[in-house]
């Protein structure tokens, strides 16, 4: 499906060797990177520190030059100005001018894109609202907290309504509200046909929003593929149902044992809400109660920003051109696309369980199923509970606890009220 869409980012055998002052080889940061990223895709780049993520992003932005191979964006050299006109970049830290305020910062970058004055002002207003800094617009950035600076860094990346957005650790330093807003924004960008290149250490964030990910290690792509394929655990089965009576559970387990054998280890537990959900609920309550805060206000969100852009489109014919769906947007002027030689798409290898476990275990120990692409479905799924897990080899503590519960259940016992923190919420006894 993805291969039918136009390629936005393409790298062919890209390598990068850092040399010292005497041109001696010091660090091999990238080695033979071959990527194809398609329009409308959220692509995640993962890897431990020093794996070459930032180097690759900087090559794609024209800030570094590949030692070997070639990189192309929209079919052209990343350093081409026409290409840069369609790109937004939020670096891993907010490298902004500390003596400017938020409004001046956005205006400065807006002018570099040669946005007409009225349109620029309109976008600045919308972006400030979107990132919740309307009331802090005239404070110099030197007075901003890290989270506020990240927000303005995000706003500047979107000032040109880019077709391709590079987000380098976008949620670092943000509170959970900001994190959720960024995730919403990323999904909204995809819904509008934009391409997002996400570079993050926060694996949960990547997992929540990305369509495909590549895992870099030692400057090479070790794994690449769709999130659901990479995360699928084919050695376990999860059944999700509404709340069941204990009797129903016992009978279900009896059926399972009867069918699969008595040796099978099964875990039955009530669903848990994620802490993120609880946090957002508390903040929502506080907001409804109109409690004062000295920090950022809650942004209007990506949807409101894009709605604002759409309203601007109706009012302004120039904007109409800028915000056309990407397939209608002409390729950069200057004639033919630059040729780039890319080898046939390599067959996606089987996931290396060791590497993925190493990378993902601390953040997502639950081994959930992959998610659907749609943002709505994802949101629904995040609220969905995990009622029954039947691990193949439950060797850790959680598995032993689960075994204990299962044993209690099979012996006709019930949950201990004091030991079950979810009881009140689930209403299960």
């Amino acid at each position: 499906m993805a291969s039918e869409r136009p390629v936005v980012i393409e790298t062919a055998q890209v390598g990068k060797m850092f040399r010292d002052f005497w041109m001696r080889k010091r660090v091999k940061a990238l080695d033979n990177i071959n990527l194809q990223i398609f329009r409308g895709e959220i692509f995640g780049l993962l890897g431990p520190n020093g794996s070459g993520k930032s180097t690759l992003v900087k090559i794609l932005l024209g800030l570094l030059f590949p030692t070997t191979g070639r990189a192309a964006i929209f079919g052209r050299d990343p350093r081409n100005v026409a290409v840069k006109d369609r790109i937004g970049y939020m670096p891993e830290e907010s490298y902004l001018y500390r003596y400017l305020d938020a409004e001046e910062t956005l205006n400065f970058y807006g002018k570099l894109f040669n946005l007409p004055s009225a349109e620029r002002r309109h976008r600045v207003e919308l972006l400030l609202e979107m990132v919740g800094l309307t009331h802090q617009r005239q404070r110099p950035l030197v007075e901003y907290s890290k989270g506020m600076a990240r927000r303005i860094g995000l706003a500047q990346a979107l000032i040109n309504d880019p077709d391709l957005v590079f987000l380098d650790e976008p949620t670092t330093g943000l509170d959970p509200i900001g994190t959720r807003e960024i995730k919403d924004l990323i999904k909204e960008l995809r819904n509008r046909g934009k391409t997002v290149f996400l570079c993050s250490h926060l694996l949960a964030d990547v997992e929540d929003v990305c369509d495909r990910v590549a895992i870099l290690y030692g400057g090479r792509v070790r794994r690449i593929g769709k999130i659901r394929d990479l995360l699928a655990d084919r050695n376990a089965t999860q059944i999700t149902t509404p709340v069941l009576k204990p009797e129903t559970v016992r009978r279900a387990l009896a059926v399972i044992r009867e069918s699969e054998g008595t040796h099978i280890e099964a875990t039955v537990q009530p669903p848990r809400n994620r802490l993120e959900q609880v946090f957002h609920a508390v903040v929502e309550e506080a907001r409804e109660a109109r409690l004062e805060t000295a920090g950022t206000t809650v942004g209007t969100g990506a949807a409101a920003y894009f709605e604002g852009l759409d309203r601007g489109e109706k009012a302004d014919a120039i904007l109409e051109d800028l915000l056309k769906a990407p397939e209608e947007k002409p390729e950069p002027s200057g004639g033919e696309r630059e040729e780039i030689v890319v080898p046939a798409t390599p067959k996606e290898p089987e996931p290396d369980r060791a590497v993925i476990a190493d990378l993902l275990a601390p953040q997502s120990p639950d081994g959930r199923e992959g998610k659907e692409d749609s943002g709505k479905e994802e949101a629904a799924e995040s609220k969905r509970d995990r009622p029954l897990v039947l691990p193949a080899d439950a060797g850790d503590k959680d598995a032993r606890d689960a075994e204990q519960v299962l044993g209690d259940l099979l012996r006709g016992g019930s949950y201990d009220k004091d030991e079950d923190p979810d009881k009140d919420k689930t209403g299960q006894g």
């Binding site: 850092f18 002052f21 003596y99």
Partner: protein, 543 residues
Amino acid sequence: MRFGEVLNQIVTIARHGIVQAVRMKIVLVVAVFLVVLVPALPFLLKSDNTLDGQLRMIITYSLYLTSFLLSVITLFLSVAALNFEIKGRQILVLDPKPVHRFTLLVGKWLGIMLINLALLIAMMGVTYGLVRWFGRPPRPVKLENLGKHLREAGVDTEAVERFNATQRQLFAGAMDPEESAAFNEAVAEVAKKLSEDRQNRAVFTLFRNAVERTQNVAEDYQNTKATVMTARVARGPVLPDVGGWVEERIAQMKQNDMMPELRSEQWVRQRLSQQFSRAAWQVPPGGIMHWEIHDLPQFKGWLVIRFRFLRDRGEPDNEILVRFVITGRDDRQSVVRRHYRVDMQHAFSVPSTLVRQDGTIDISFENLDSGEEPVAAWFPAQGGISVLFPAGSMAENFLRAGLVILAKLSFIAILGVFASTFLSLPVGVFMTTVVFFAGHMRDYFLTEILSDFYLFGSSVVPPGTPLNPADEVLRYILYYVFAVFPNFGAYDIVTPLAEGHLIAAGMLAHCFWWFVLIRGSILVLAAWFIFRRRELAALTPQS
């Protein structure tokens, strides 16, 4: 990308550079320093108690200070502009924007130049204002009591009123020859009346003192206006073909086998050239030298004859009695006969009405030295004798001076931006500082240091001894190494401005041509070549 869009980006980057400099308080500190120091200069420094001396001091110190401080700021800002962005990593956000790196460099340069322009206009304005204020016309001498005495002495009221009126006119006007003549006529009329009666001797003395005071003040003011608060052009006599004489003499010496064996031909040539130049305008005791000056304009005012002569022997500070006769239209003459000190610059004024229709005047100089050992006077080829006439206003001269300073600053800014494309801030500042000072010392090095430079041969040899070939080669190399540096000293605007000489349009054009168009363009291209290949996110810091 269209030109208008690129221009818009350049202006945006330039404006941002100004905001950066202002908010980082660099410019503010220097501006306050200049604004406080320059107006304070006339009160802090002592002059020679003459009006023109005071004005020259204001011009000299203010412009040197302004030029030097602006050069230093430019040097720092131009290297820092890009380095701050790279060190602070703002460049990582700026470079992915659709801005050519060349546009970025030009924008940075323009921002610095706009700051320079604002500061330069302010400081030139302050200096010009100070000169105009100190050089304002003096007040007429108060003559109420004198008028009463004159009337009591029998001078009729009309003559007294005429005297007062011409005196006021003398101060209010440009003090040109016509007003001076009218004043002199009024003075003569009153003096004639007073001289009729010997009883009026006391009143006559009072009157004479008042007239002398008036004339002194008027002369001082006229002198200041004619020498400082103006923009004059000099015309001099054509020097005889000394080169031809030298070649002729060398040929004769070679023919007669008279060339010295231990002297280089270059040395012999130099010596002969010096001797012939000196002999060209040498006037023995009792002798007369005639010069014809061409290309003088017809105008209303004064011509200034400026000269400096030396004597062939004896004490240099002696005075010689000389007579100048300036002959012009209708064979009218202006004669100056007096003692002048040797080896000093002197000047006197003659009416411009002397200039003939064809723009010429004749100057004859007679050496009247009749002491026990009379000496010959000789005029050097450079600055020996010249005729100055106003060719522009002081304001115009200030404007030209400002443009020359701006051209120099423009080059320094380009140099700094160039350095910042591949050097860190301290190294870049060091490099540009070296170039800046080497450029100022270039001429001194090429003329003074290099001529005494011995590395392989001995310096303890008779003058004119041929150089060791290795030293010859070394001098040749060093000459061209230093010749690469921009010659800042060649475009000195402070001296001409203080002396009231018009800064020639040719010098202005030459300055822009060499500093901005030629050297500047080469540096800009080099900067662009380097910067477009620079990896802005390189892990290894540039050094």
